[in-house]
């Protein structure tokens, strides 16, 4: 298994999902839709990526490019409001956004709640709006409940970009609905992540056997999409049976008991997809307690430093690492691009890296581990 960069659109079953006509996976360069959409999209993409390059150049040489120079007399403050501040994923995203801010010579304001909770995030958002930044990058903690609070920002002339999670449908700037005002949604394509986990897991269990998804709880856009992608891809593997999904409330103890119970009923369980950190680590412990380590293969989502050891000792077969720093970086750059009059794609998908025990020592892979 190589890194995600080795994948081609055909490998991941792309461009099947029509629901995202102008999806742009930075790096693999995947786009779908009609020829006309393609044309428009290419134009957008070129200018956008040009700006990305500009940001890189600015970082390298300390010179501002033409586009950035437009903003020279006015320094923008762009805020990042994460889903929670205490998670390695968002901490890494913050680093990415800071890198973009430094490269573009702009200011970043990082403010969030310590817990994934609407009632804690909204007051933080209100306080950020009160400081009147030029743009807000936000990982909304709820698709619906954050719409009204963000409308206030939009009404105050603040550019809104969704990162990691979204409001409404996640399809923006369509002119329909009351939640399409954010200019862009920048995130890992979680459906794609689920697809990649499924492919890797299918391969490691020899394309046959029973598997299930250990998930947090229904209603979280990202983990729902990972499950969706996983199940969709597994449908292409006729000898693999998918069992009932188990929800663990982000409790490793419960995830462990669930896999033990499933093994009790289904002794020939072949693999589990842990859709987030605690789903995966709890499942791994349950498998160990059941004496099935190495027999029941686990694909884990998210990559804190500890997965290095867990891949090496066989706890995890596969780890799908998101690129949160890229989300922060591209989120910041797209906000800046919009503020400086450049067109921005309404949907920007960042990539993944598939980590295994064979590639984890490669610095190009290890750089995608999340750091605090």
């Amino acid at each position: 298994m190589r890194t995600w960069e080795g994948w081609r659109p055909a490998d991941v079953g792309w461009p099947a999902p029509k629901r995202r006509p102008n999806m742009d996976v930075i790096g693999t360069f995947v786009a779908v839709g009609s020829d006309k959409e393609w044309e428009e999209y290419m134009i957008q993409r070129r200018s956008f990526l040009g700006l990305m390059g500009a940001a890189g150049a600015a970082a390298g040489t300390g010179l501002l490019t033409t586009q950035a120079a437009l903003a020279q007399d006015k320094k923008f403050t762009i805020a990042l409001v994460p889903g929670l501040t205490t998670d390695a994923f968002y901490i890494t995203m913050h680093r990415g956004a800071q890198a973009a801010a430094d490269a573009l010579g702009q200011d970043l304001l990082f403010q969030g709640a310590s817990e994934w909770n609407v009632t804690l995030q909204v007051p933080v958002l209100d306080a950020v709006i009160a400081r009147n930044p030029a743009a807000i990058l936000i990982a909304p903690t709820d698709k619906v409940q954050l719409v009204e609070p963000l409308k206030k920002a939009h009404a105050a002339g603040i550019t809104v970009v969704c990162v990691d999670t979204f409001i409404g449908t996640g399809v923006f700037q369509t002119g329909s609905g009351d939640a399409d005002f954010p200019i862009s949604y920048v995130a890992s394509d979680n459906v794609l992540g689920g697809v990649m986990a499924a492919r890797a897991l299918a391969k490691s269990i020899g394309e046959k056997g029973k598997v299930y998804v250990s998930n947090v709880k229904p209603g979280i856009s990202t983990t729902d999409q990972r499950e969706e992608g996983f199940k969709k891809e597994m449908a292409n593997h006729p000898n693999i049976e998918i069992l009932e999904t188990q929800f663990n409330d982000d409790d490793a103890n419960k995830a462990a008991a669930q896999v033990q119970a499933v093994i009790g009923r289904v002794p020939d369980l072949a693999g589990v997809f842990g859709a987030n950190l605690f789903s995966a680590s709890g499942t791994a412990n349950g498998v160990k307690q059941a004496g099935k380590q190495g027999v029941v293969k686990i694909a884990a989502f998210d990559a804190p430093q500890s997965v290095v050891q867990e891949l090496k000792d066989g706890t995890f077969e596969i780890v799908i690492a998101q690129h949160p720093a890229e989300i922060g970086y591209f989120g910041f750059v797209s906000a800046f691009a919009h503020l400086t009059g450049n067109p921005v794609p309404t949907l920007i998908g960042t990539g993944f890296t598939v980590m295994t025990k064979d590639n984890i020592d490669d610095p190009d892979i290890a750089k995608y581990l999340y750091t605090g």
Partner: protein, 333 residues
Amino acid sequence: MGPGVLSRIADLRAWIFLVLLLIFFETWANVAYGVTFIGNTYNLQSIGIFATAPLLLALGQTFVIISAGIDLSVGFTMGLAAVVSAHVANLGMSHFGLNPLLAMLLGLLSGIAVAFIPGLVNGWLIARLRVPPFIGTLGMYGIARGAAFLIAGGMTVPVSNEWFAYIGNGRIYGVPILVIIAVVVIFLMHYLLSQTKFGQHTYALGASRVAAVRSGINVGGLTMRIYLLAAVCAGLAGALYSARFTAGAAQAGEPLLLSSIAAVVIGGASLFGGSGTIAGTVAGALVIAVIEYGLVFINVEPFWQFIAVGVVIIISVLVDQSQRKLLGGRQDD
């Protein structure tokens, strides 16, 4: 004789629930899959391990609830202890050159020791400053959580120590070490609650603070010790979490708080204080673990788990209330 027998049954309700649940799952497993549920030691081991962490929190919480208090901070006290024990075990090996066994012991003890801080602060707020327990421990919930996340740096703290992993995952004659530790703590807590002045005074405090004061009990000191005990139980749960998952996580105990309170209530304690037993709490924790494990085992749609636990809590509270009415109706005999 009628009310006496009924009240005895009400006291044993958690155990009766447990037996009924086991019969239910055994029957279903036999009919649907042709396998045994309770006859399989694998299932019993799995349920034992599953119940350990919420049970440890619930044991400490039993004293708090009997004293008419509540401790909302135990979940993050557990997380704090998990993170600290993982860190200290690592430091013990990397900085002090301890062998893995000593580093493991130091790590576990540090996890328990750090829990003294939230325990003493809770006790001080509630006993000396007379802050209502709900508010005082809610404040500590935030503080312990912040401290845990700060120490962890937003990450889980992995531990690489074979002794740590052994405590968390090893078995002695097929019995998980975690379960052995839990059983020892159960007996200790049962002794404390039923056979010592401390336990007796905890009941008195829950029934009437004024009566406890008038009886010459040092209510402030008693309150301090009750919250300290709850925190130490959470500290042990956190240290064992790190051992089991070979990583400390700040949010380790957060999802366990509500099920630990539910275990105490199902076990027969009243949230108004004054009643509850260790045996009841043990049964309450097992009821929750058996429901959640059993429903997965027989492959029932996951959402039924929430409904089942909710129904058991409500039945339990209803039994408690009718028992009170029963006693209340016997004023003159």
